[in-house]
Every structure is written in C-alpha cells, then in structure tokens.
Symmetry: C2
Subunit: 213 residues, 2 copies
C-alpha cells in the first residue's frame, strides 16, 4: 500500500488531475458575469462560489470606491479557480466585452425587461448586475443590448444580490444545456488551463520549488 509505486501523495495528485480534467472540459467562457460596484464582502464571496461552481471561468468587475474584497471565509477557495478581470469604468468593461463578441444584458427589477428564459442562450452573453442599493448605473445601462428580470409574484420585488446572481447563472446554464451546449474552451485553451490548475493543485512546497507535476 505504501510502496514507491503507490506513493499516497502521487495517488492524491493523480486524482486531483482527473478532477481538474473533468472541470476544465466543462468550463464555459461564452457566458460571463459582470459586477458593477457590488461591494458587500459576503455577497461577493457567495457570488464567486456560485459562478465557479456553475462552471464559469471569467468574472468581470467594475470596481467602486470600496473595491473588490470577497470574504475569504465564504469563498471556500473558489476564487483560486476563476479569473477576475478588473475594469476602471463601465465603458472600458463594456467595450472590451463587446470587442470579444459578447452581447450585454443588464439585470433590471422593473420595466419591459425580458424574462431569464428568453435570453439568447446560443450567443456569447455577459450578464450585468449593479450595486446592492443603487442597481445598475445609467452609464452601464447605456451600454447594454437589453435587460432581463427574474420572474417574481410577491410583495418583495428583489432578491439579495448573491441570490439573484445564483438564480440567473443557474438558469442561463440550464438554457445552454437545453441547447446541448457544454464546455466551450478550445483545445489550446483547455490545455493551458489544465497546466495552470495542475500547478495550483500541486502541494505548495513543490510549487515553491517551481515544480508543476
């Protein structure tokens, strides 16, 4: 059981690699999330965990005066596996996403927003959420191709922002599955991501010595 050919550390690493391969093969970049000045550390951490767990690789942030500081106790390490892209302004963020072929849809509580089920799931989608109190800024709303809302029928007209993001991303991923869409990274992107994740998963002493397993 403990011979050289079954070194427990190597067995563990092999298992981790299998898990990484599985996650990377299902990773999605064609659906992304944008947070504009969401600032509560608890909410940010819950959002990172939801986005990572649902399979997103990218998260875009327009930082407000309070910055982007997820509560480490709540992320449960999810922040290690997702790429956070920081932008200085709504215009810079929207411009970059549009240049990459994304259509932008903003979360809206009222008005003529389409329901979540009606988002065009086959296209590259960036779903944008505004600040806990002020909602989406007019600046960012002006860059959006359209708006969506979560169907509600009670007196409460909004959700906690981390709940709203969770419902939205879970529904958008379900919409993708309905169309038969799974992981969407190219072979090259997957290979690069696997190497990064292998390095992250290797015991930290090996990482310090530069080993990438």
């Amino acid at each position: 059981m403990s011979g050289r050919r079954h070194d427990p550390a190597e067995v563990l690493l092999a298992r981790r690699k299998l898990r990484i391969d599985e996650v990377v093969s299902q990773r999605v970049r064609g659906l992304t999330l944008v947070l504009e000045q969401v600032h509560d550390p608890h909410n940010l951490a819950a959002i990172l965990r939801s986005a990572e767990g649902l399979g997103l690789q990218d998260l875009h942030v327009v930082e407000g005066p309070k910055g982007f500081r997820p509560s480490q106790a709540v992320t449960q390490g999810a922040d290690k596996w997702i790429d956070v892209h920081r932008h200085e302004s709504a215009a810079a963020c929207a411009g970059q996403l549009r240049a990459r072929g994304f259509r932008l849809f903003g979360s809206q509580l009222e008005g003529q927003a389409r329901s979540l089920q009606e988002l065009p799931a086959a296209e590259k989608l960036a779903l944008v959420f505004g600040n806990e109190h002020a909602g989406l800024s007019e600046a960012f709303a002006g860059h959006c191709d359209g708006f969506f809302r979560i169907p509600m029928s009670g007196f409460s007209q909004s959700f906690n922002v981390s709940v709203a993001v969770g419902i939205t991303l879970a529904t958008a991923m379900q919409n993708r599955r309905t169309l038969g869409l799974g992981g969407d990274l190219s072979e090259e992107e997957q290979a690069a991501l696997r190497q990064r994740f292998y390095a992250l998963a290797a015991p930290s002493t090996r990482r310090l010595r530069g080993g990438e397993g």
Copy 2:
C-alpha cells in the same frame, strides 16, 4: 387633487389593495420550503425574502438549538407576508406535510439525486434544506421521498444555502409555469388571505383601533 373624494390616504390604500389582490391571486401553497436547523440570521432573512418574492405562502421550520431568528434588516418586511410554521422535530414536520398530501424531496450535494428539472412539478412538493454545515439530518432524510441537486460543474460543490434555496425555488416555480400552473389557493383561501393582508397594509393607527377597512 386633495378633495375629500381623493383623500391621499384612501387612494394609497386602494392602490395597496389592488396590489394585494394581484399577489394573492398568484399565491402558491402547493410548493413549500422546509428549513431544518438553518440558523444564520442573514441566510434566513435572504431565504424569507426569496420565498415570499417568488410567491410561496408557507415556510416550514424545524428549529435547532439556535432557533429561527431572521435578520430584520435583510428581510425588508417580507416576513410579514409569509406564514412560518414551526415544528419540534423532523418527524412532526414530515408527518404533517405528508398528511396534507405533500411529497418530500431533500437537497443533496452528492449521490444519485435527480436534477431540479426532474422534480414532479404537478404534485404538491415540499423541498427540504438542511443546516449550513451538517446538511440534512439522517432523521429527515429518512422521511424524504427522494433527493434533488442543483447541477454544478466546478470545483465548488455547494452554494451558500440562501443561494441554493433561491435557485431551487425559482426553478421549481419555472417548472410550474411550464405546466401552466399559477396561483393555487381556493376562492375561500384567497378571500381570507386578502382580508389578512388588507389589515396588515392599513395604517398602523387604524390597526391599533381595530379597524380593518
């Protein structure tokens, strides 16, 4: 504008009554939520707000040693419009729901749970969530007809409990809509609920004087 026939307080009350009528007509009792020893006040408040906003009228709670104490700052008043039923044990809660014709499904992170989309939406459903750390107790799991999970494909294998409940209830309500199912209260139940809600919506001085107009 301010004549006796257009008393602003009466106009406001009339508007509130219209809103109440709309909410009551869409209220749902055939889908309910059970929380077993969920204790974080922030999570509880976010859950109450989600459940109420999505249209549920009933919430069942099996209290743990820390009780059921939603954070008032986060509920935003949602607790006023939803009925919280407290039970002393898993057996008592499950027994009462089963006697009323509910099928019980527990949230599960692993194993052979069915996906959310496969829950039998046409039946009376009670969806059960366990404690933040320990999950569903074996006692309650033993009373369940089956288990469900939210499809995930990342390293994070769970959501914050308020996010998990939000995704679950939003999906279950969407499943109902797909079948053409809306509000399900009988005429008598709706009339009784309207009267309760009118009283709650009336200015508090009138309530103190016993008026329910």
